[in-house]
């Protein structure tokens, strides 16, 4: 429910709506885009970053919170681990049970490999499940993989690794067909034509969707298929360290059973990290649209084992996170809301930016409107936001469109007394995606032999900025590529003696580089208290002064 003050402000939005309807706000020029990024994008704020003091990328600039995890001790410091006591012995070990992990598992299985998926929470608890908007693929006659390639490169500011982009766009239609043939219910017209829309920065309408449950629909089908194949999945058992063999090749992982608090050894011929992103590190204090488990564990494990980071200093802030109500603060308002025609407005009910700039530009424009131009709307909890004029969608596409195309969004707001069909919604950027990660090649391989990465934990595909709909695509394309390659490769791997020597060396290196710390990583689970300490402090001082 909006406050009385907010309802007053909504009247301005309603007053300008007829005048705005049907009028397209101009896109920014390349210079204007550059300017707003420099002025307002969190990636350009130097104080949010520092250079890491050890490891393969010593000196690399990464977000402070990630640097703290990289410059931290292993959970296995002072823990006796018997590497000969093997609990799981498989060909391919997949760490992470999201869309990339499931796709990798299915392809490795197809190669005849014995596969184990181990995951921190439940199988399917992943950002994949929450990807609402869609998945890109150039599968329509007016589109082509080359056009998709250009959109990806432009969106990533020409920094993307060309080989990876080539793989992404070239495999995209195959990825859609693979999912479709498994029974993923894409939105289609009666003749079978895919219903596709624009996303920020696309030159063709190539966003495929399953209402606004696209990721959920993909994840539940992939999960079902993995279970149907009889692939073993171990829940609530995050990996805390990669195990190498005596030659420095990846050969398994130490798992931690969150419930029995035991460490378990998983031995494997090839290892794939598919642990996803880092939103729960709350870079620069931002709220996040990410899953509870998104704590960058894979980056920490992989880096310690010797894999390189790439683009680790580029974070995607989704332009439209929930600014109000506070109960769902930071939750994602899918880009599809803008794809369908909703436009961002300031306190005067005026549009201040084209509604489908690339995400970094759009987010920066929202931040500028609120913090520089002071044209944002205050929220009762002391934050700011801008309107997203969702009722426009019903005017453009007809009544009932929101219920049909955005049922998840409609339900989420309804639960808190807001009807987005009739009232605009209040949004502010939210930490959404880790553009970079562990550097891979087109088969998902890292520099560490037999160690693969796929999905959000990997880096290079998206360069410095990812377009909407290319992350669901990424997890399918590179999950499959990594799984297939790792499955095949596992046939030629000869098992050697297992070793955690690299962890000792890492600890030594912490000392040598002057890092004195009690921090332990990976983080595994975030810790939230929702202001309890402040309440307790206040109560105590009130008692003292009573």
């Amino acid at each position: 429910m909006y406050t009385a003050k907010m309802r007053e402000l909504i009247k301005k939005v309603e007053a300008t709506r007829p005048r705005r309807f049907g009028i397209q706000h101009p896109r920014m020029t390349p210079q204007e885009r550059e300017e707003v990024l420099n002025q307002c994008h969190p990636d350009y704020k130097e104080e949010g970053f520092r250079n890491i003091r050890l490891g393969v990328n010593k000196g690399l600039k990464v977000p402070l919170e990630l640097a703290n995890l990289i410059e931290a001790k292993s959970r296995l410091d002072n823990v006796a681990i018997d590497l000969d006591h093997i609990s799981y012995d498989v060909d391919v070990l997949i760490i992470g049970g999201g869309g990339a992990g499931a796709s990798a598992a299915l392809e490795a299985y197809n190669k005849g490999a014995n596969v184990l998926i181990t995951t921190k929470l439940r199988f399917g608890d992943a950002n994949t499940m929450m990807a609402e908007g869609g998945i890109q693929a150039a599968d329509k006659p007016e589109d082509s993989p080359s056009k998709h390639y250009m959109d990806v490169m432009g969106g990533g500011h020409y920094t993307n690794v060309p080989n990876l982009v080539n793989a992404l766009v070239g495999d995209a239609p195959k990825a859609i067909k693979w999912l479709n043939d498994m029974g993923v219910m894409f939105d289609k017209q009666e003749d079978g034509t895919m219903v596709t829309t624009h996303g920020g920065g696309t030159s063709r309408k190539r966003m495929h969707a399953a209402a606004d449950y696209t990721g959920a629909e993909i994840m539940r089908v992939l999960r079902d298929e993995v279970i149907n194949k009889g692939i073993e999945v171990v829940d609530f058992s995050p990996a805390v360290e990669i195990i190498l063999d005596q030659e420095g090749k990846a050969a398994g992982a130490v798992l931690y059973n969150l419930e029995t608090q035991e460490y378990l050894i998983a031995r494997a011929k090839t290892v794939i990290i598919t642990t996803g992103g880092a939103g729960r590190l709350h870079y620069q204090g931002f709220p996040t649209s990410n899953h509870y488990g998104a704590t960058a564990d894979g980056l920490v494990l992989g880096y310690r084992a010797g894999a390189e980071l790439a683009f680790a200093d580029t974070i995607q802030y989704h332009p439209t996170g929930v600014a109000f109500p506070p109960q769902i603060f930071g939750a994602l308002v899918t880009e599809k809301v803008r794809s369908l025609g909703a436009t961002p407005l300031n306190i005067d009910g005026e549009q201040f930016v084209f509604h489908l700039e690339t995400r970094d530009v759009e987010a920066s424009a929202v931040i500028r409107e609120c913090l520089v131009r002071d044209k944002g709307i205050d929220t009762p909890t002391g934050g700011k936001g801008v309107w997203l004029d969702s009722p426009l969608i019903e005017m453009i596409h007809g009544e009932g469109t929101i219920e049909k195309r955005l049922p998840g969004m409609l339900r989420m707001y309804k639960k808190f007394g807001i009807d987005m069909r009739k009232e605009p919604i209040l949004v502010y950027p939210t930490l959404h995606y880790q553009n970079g990660g562990l550097l891979i090649n087109e088969s998902g391989q890292t520099k560490v032999e037999n160690l693969y990465v796929a999905g959000e934990a990997s880096g290079g595909v998206h360069g410095r900025n990812r377009l909407m709909g290319n992350s669901l695509l990424d997890i399918i394309v590179f999950g499959r590529r990594a799984g297939s390659h790792a499955g095949e490769k596992s046939k030629d791997v000869e098992l050697k003696k297992l070793s955690l020597e690299h962890v000792k060396v890492y600890h030594q290196s912490l000392k040598e580089n002057g890092v004195e710390t009690d921090r332990v990583a990976p983080m595994m689970l975030p810790h939230y208290t929702h202001g309890r300490e402040d309440h307790v402090k206040k109560e105590r001082s009130e008692k003292l002064h009573a």
Partner: protein, 226 residues
């Protein structure tokens, strides 16, 4: 401001005083829990946080997702972090989209006694009993549509006297619908064929060789579909 207003809630029977503005999930963390079970996407999509509660003094048991529901005074709550529902395994390529398939894999759906407990229990407000009825009749397109927003939280199955695992039935119906009933996409099939024939390889190879300035020039001159 309502910010400082506190309410008493009972987590697994134990009383905690928490701010009234919090969701159930946040209130558990405020109380001092670090969640492992019963917490997932925190956005209403994953079904990890199914919660059953009763308000003190009332009789009715209510259900919700902990991340999407505010606390209320006198809330007695417990979570349902896992439900041991039955999932059959199958080879999708061997199935037919007919009622016989359901009959073979999930015959218990025909024991539905029409009590509607599943529907009453659904935190997504889906008409669960209706989609089971569609499944019984082999009307998978309707079943798929009606069950589409399911988050597999398991509450429906936990309340079913006929031991139906509704969410698995809905999932099977959606997969049958997506694979066999939904119309085939010709442009997709054609594009995949073209890619396999290498139609775009030379274009992409050219683009991969371009430097940043050349790419910029192409990018800024793109024609953009209306």
């Amino acid at each position: 401001m309502a910010k400082n207003e506190m309410v008493d809630i009972y987590i697994l029977g134990k009383k905690y005083t928490v701010p009234s503005t919090l969701t159930i999930m946040d209130s558990m963390e405020y109380a001092g829990y670090q969640l492992t079970r019963g917490c997932g996407c925190r956005s209403g999509f994953c079904g990890a946080c199914a919660t059953i509660y009763r308000i003190k003094g009332e009789k009715e048991l209510k259900v919700c997702l902990a991340c999407q529901t505010k606390v209320e005074e006198g809330m007695y709550l417990t979570q349902l972090p896992f439900f041991p529902g039955d999932k059959k395994t199958y080879d999708m390529s061997q199935l037919k989209p007919t009622a016989d398939t359901m009959m073979q894999l999930y015959p218990e759906i025909y024991s539905c006694i029409g009590c509607n407990s599943c529907t009453k229990g659904c935190p997504q407000e889906l008409n669960v009993m209706q989609y089971i009825a569609y499944a019984q009749r082999g009307e998978f397109e309707k079943c798929a549509e009606e069950s589409f927003d399911c988050v597999s939280c398991g509450i429906c199955a936990s309340r079913c006297p006929a031991n139906i695992t509704h969410y698995q039935v809905g999932l099977l119906a959606r997969r049958l619908n997506g694979k066999y009933i939904a119309p085939e996409t010709k442009h997709l099939k054609e594009r995949v064929k073209e890619i396999q024939e290498g139609k775009y390889d030379s274009d992409l190879k050219e683009l991969m060789k371009k430097n940043t300035d050349e790419l910029k020039a192409i990018y800024n001159a793109r024609d953009i579909e209306k």
